[in-house]
Amino acid sequence: NAGVTQTPKFRILKIGQSMTLQCAQDMNHNYMYWYRQDPGMGLKLIYYSVGAGITDKGEVPNGYNVSRSTTEDFPLRLELAAPSQTSVYFCASSYWADTPDGTQYFGPGTRLLVL
């Protein structure tokens, strides 16, 4: 199993450009999440999905969009990139969500710089 994979690893965007961060998992997990991590700020939830076709906003959704057409893939779309979106983005997935051992498995992250 590859686990959770993310592409690209690093990207530089100009202000106003758009891009899609890719996330895929091969563990047949229903639950998938997107977080962003800023220095000294921990991780903040952007969007999450409980299954194909079902997504919802997290704590910091503004400026982002998601879709979940398959169980495996959960892409994150940035429209009109802004410097405030400079961050490290992590995708995570889990099989169970509502149990104490519902482990979230994280991808390696995408580092995004908006200039």
Partner: protein, 114 residues
Amino acid sequence: QKEVEQDPGPLSVPEGAIVSLNCTYSNSAFQYFMWYRQYSRKGPELLMYTYSSGNKEDGRFTAQVDKSSKYISLFIRDSQPSDSATYLCAMKYAGGTSYGKLTFGQGTILTVHP
């Protein structure tokens, strides 16, 4: 007030020291508590989880929860240079509508020097 507060450190200790990492939280609805370890330029990985007040041991690691004080701790005994990482506390609500959403602390940067 942040829902979860964690001292960001950085914390630097000699090899073999006992390390104490702490988080406080304000929302008593949090029922499940986790510690994640994150090596530099890597994704977080689950280290330990617990859901009841008291202690839980796993090798050199002990997770402690005090729900009455809304305080959780992670203790590392006989710390090793390989323990150098950022440690993130995380917690979530119980119940069907939580959907496993995690709330993280800011993370504590730990360096164990030989």
